[in-house]
Symmetry: none
Subunit: 167 residues, 4 copies
């Protein structure tokens, strides 16, 4: 299965791509074509399920990884990969001001609502309590839990559940 | 019941003070006298259970409130008051690097271990993700939950539960 | 040896990079490529072991130093450099709420556990005794010693060992 | 054995006072009289080794405790008592800018130099890194170790050893 890198998207025109969307919830189907965000495409490429090309020529996996890194998406990719490998369906959380929304195992975009918003941070970041509080407020407002995913300098990820509470 | 402000402590010499300690877990009993931290004394003063004096003269409640403010303890006091009013026994969390440890309703220092550590923050504060990690690590290591209490500019308090998780 | 600055990371694709990781414990190897945190990359650049490029053009050492400063990492870098120059292997201490964990000479991430946690502070900082308590508590709980590294206005570093004690 | 409270000192004129000084290093001998700082006098009073009087009348132990508290010395007293009870000789550290100097068990003012300076803090204090650093510098300059004694709101004491180090 081959995908074409076009700007910030990878487009796959293949009947198998439709299956990939329906069974595993990758990307968006638009007129029988699968549109994949770069980090989802990299995930599939690393699992040998996708090859890539751009402007008519093949793109090696290293070249594609570099594209993702150059766009500053690698930290986000690490969290995506880790959560997918743990069995979650992971979709963008953009509408909620966070990196991902997460479906518990057994749930998916067409079947129940997402349970978590995931905010990706790095160990060297400073956050204000105001930022922190706004992440939680948004999550609470849409009835989801907030998960912080902190990527450290060794690229290990530490997760925290945060919820608003009335003691 | 009158208490004497002496440095960082308020001392109460009264049989009723002993009851206050035994039933409600205020302060420390030292040789039949009750020693109260300033924030506990202010709490009792606001509930009309304690009057205050210092160096032989009476101290009005406003004067005493100012003492607590001058020592930078008012934010901490607000959280203490709120948690006590909600029915928790609230004791210092210093040994765990946080402001308070909290006993669930029905538990107390002499009866079961504390369930929460409470870290007091203000709306305008910045924290590093590293400090955040340190607070959670301590709580996790002693099998308690971490609660952040954020006091905003209107002195409202928002609480957050935070826990380390493996998704 | 050239590294590409990509967001918060520097990527080096070179067989010598693999040696650098295996012998000197810099960065993380991901698919035969070395991923370096910015402070490790700056350290290698200052030792003339690494040149840097970004988006296809070369980056002077001054430009790269500025990137590190802009991200607020220069103080942390100074402590990293000093400790590496003294012969320690220095890795992130994020999981323990401090900037670094430190392996004594002769020990390394693959060979024995780390002995120190290093908390980086600056001369003008205020810390609460509560935060201090939290740092020591974490270190004690994981059987490591706590070292404070204080960077002064002249960028000199003073180190302090701190341990919880029962006199 | 009776002592007279006179301002910030208690004076004891008794042959047994001389023994107390020579064997246990309490106070200062001045013209065959023992001059005791208030916290040492309170320590002896609590051990039933000293009664107190002032201006010709007897002072009960509670009254005397109140004098010590009114002068804001009670926190300092708690640390003094704890360290004496652990077997240390404890003398003022005033010349070194700290509350106490401490002699290891078996050492004393006339026999070897003191090993520790003790800085007494309370949980609600903020310290600047500059303060912290100056405590250590003074201790290091006179070849002693610095011990921080932090008294929390429950009047428990946590001790920390701090030393300047060259890693």
């Amino acid at each position: 299965m081959n995908g074409k890198l076009q700007g910030d998207m990878v487009t796959v025109a293949s009947p198998r791509a439709i299956k990939l969307h329906e069974n595993s919830h990758f990307g968006q189907l638009i007129q029988e074509e699968l549109q994949l965000p770069l980090i989802e495409a990299l995930f599939l490429a690393e699992k040998d399920k996708l090859t890539l090309s751009t402007e008519g020529r093949e793109l090696s996996r290293d070249e594609f990884t570099n594209v993702v890194r150059d766009k500053g998406l690698f930290t986000k990719y690490l969290v995506f990969k880790d959560l997918r490998n743990r069995g979650y369906i992971v979709k963008t959380g953009f509408k909620y001001g966070s990196e991902f929304r997460l479906y518990e195992r057994g749930r998916s975009p067409g079947n129940g609502h997402s349970d978590f918003l995931v905010k990706v941070l790095t160990e060297d970041q400073q956050i204000t309590i105001n930022d922190f509080s706004s992440y939680v407020r948004v999550a609470h407002g849409v009835n989801k839990k907030l998960m912080l995913a902190v990527v450290d300098d060794e690229q290990d990820i530490t997760y925290y559940n945060v919820e608003w509470t009335r003691p």
